[in-house]
């Protein structure tokens, strides 16, 4: 029998498999897993790998919804495997597949490099013209709670790729930046510590930018951290339009606590370490 008094059930896992060395295209493989209440999809996958099929592979790390590694398509919805309790989404069949709108490396592992490259192209860091923050790394910035709340929501992004998988534009148009990179561009634009709006305008307002978003809203629907990238993109559209039509003057960047911005490094502050990844322009 497949239920007992504790609520444990036999659930049929239909898992998308793909081995680039032997397979031409992905196919489905079925496993039956005895699922207890509270087991997550990630727990189920571990059970399969430990007891049934050691060749199944996927990404995971923290298993508690903060690292963003285990983004997968679960019962047709992109979300985190560690955050999804099996018995909350099904009582018979669970389909698990790799995130759509990426290339699959193997089994449930998508190639997220294009997403990261798009993210980097939006210059997602504090940019100042008046000084280099690395010159005085221990200096602090003034910021009010109101200024913090303007970007805090969008800073919770864990780069899991669920929003990219859910976006209808990305289904066809690979050049579109996507909800995550654009939400991160907005996160820095509205951060009062940052002065890089004019630089990012060209990316966000370009042909791969906000004009490709049409508020289907699926990105916000699937985001496991409540980042609401759809909101970020629409707010950014307003900023871009107002900037273009010169309807609103942007406030200057906020200053720092402590000594005035430096032209040269203070004595005793070491040089920053060399870059560990290749810098392109």
């Amino acid at each position: 029998m497949d239920t007992d008094s504790k609520g444990t059930k036999d659930i049929l896992f239909v898992v998308r498999r793909y081995n680039p060395e032997t397979d031409g295209a992905p196919y489905n493989q079925e496993y039956t897993v005895l699922v207890e209440p509270g087991m997550t999809v990630l727990d189920g996958l571990h059970q399969i790998k430990n007891t049934q099929d050691a060749t199944l592979v996927w990404r995971f790390s923290c298993r508690m919804g903060v690292c963003g590694s285990c983004g997968m398509l679960i019962n047709g919805k992109p979300t985190l495997a560690c955050n999804t309790q099996i018995l909350h989404v099904t009582d018979r069949v669970l389909t698990v597949g790799p995130l759509p709108n990426f290339e699959i490396i193997k089994d449930l592992i998508p190639d997220l490099q294009p997403m990261f490259a798009k993210h980097i192209s939006g210059r997602p860091h504090i940019h100042r013209d008046d000084w280099d923050p690395r010159a005085a790394p221990a200096d602090e910035y003034y910021q009010t709670p109101e200024e913090l709340i303007r970007f805090l929501q969008f800073s919770y992004c864990i780069k899991c790729g669920s929003c990219m998988a859910a976006c209808p534009t990305l289904a066809r148009d690979k050049s579109y930046l996507g909800p995550m990179p654009l939400a991160q561009v907005h996160r820095y634009n509205v951060d009062t510590r940052d002065g890089g709006f004019n630089e990012r305008k060209k990316i966000a307002g370009g042909s791969a930018g906000v004009a490709r978003c049409h508020y289907a809203g699926e990105c916000s629907n699937v985001c496991p951290k409540g980042v609401d990238p759809a909101r970020a993109i629409q707010l950014m559209k307003r900023d871009l339009v107002f900037s273009y039509l010169r309807l609103k003057k942007r406030k200057g960047v906020c200053g720092t606590i402590g000594p005035a911005p430096h032209a040269k490094r203070r004595e005793g502050v070491p040089d920053p370490p060399p870059y560990t990844i290749e810098q392109k322009g």
Binding site: R172, D173, K174, K201, G205, S207, A211, L240, V241
Partner: protein, 120 residues
């Protein structure tokens, strides 16, 4: 920023169409209930009403304006849909050319017709 600029005009054109297109819809489709701009009564597309509208200069002006914004709004939207099907640079240039050329030709023809109808 170029794309966001076009998009701004697309949205503004949409607002203009709401007003002018809305008036056009009321004229054409509420002719039984209201009869706005159809002084001879009956159907809004009866020749007498059409000729009367062509006669007053404000109508050709507004028709030409509506035609312009509608063509821009519609063709820019179509361009976006085609681009988002995922196409290369060459195809994008071709789409741009065809839509701009087609839009200009239609605008020229429609404007000529509005002015010619007024001059009759």
């Amino acid at each position: 920023m170029r794309e966001a600029q076009f998009w701004t005009w697309h949205v503004l054109a949409g607002v203009v169409i709401l007003v002018l297109g809305g008036l056009h819809m009321i004229t054409m489709h509420l002719d039984g209930l209201w009869g706005l701009f159809s002084p001879f009564g009956g159907s809004a597309i009866a020749w007498d009403n059409v000729a009367e509208r062509s006669r007053q200069i404000i109508f050709p002006i507004l028709y030409i304006l509506l035609l312009g914004v509608a063509l821009f709004h519609g063709f820019y939207g179509l361009r976006n849909i085609l681009f988002e099907l995922g196409c290369g640079k060459g195809v994008r240039s071709l789409i741009n050319f065809v839509l701009v050329a087609g839009g200009l030709v239609l605008f020229a023809y429609g404007s000529w017709a509005a002015i010619a109808a007024h001059a009759v």
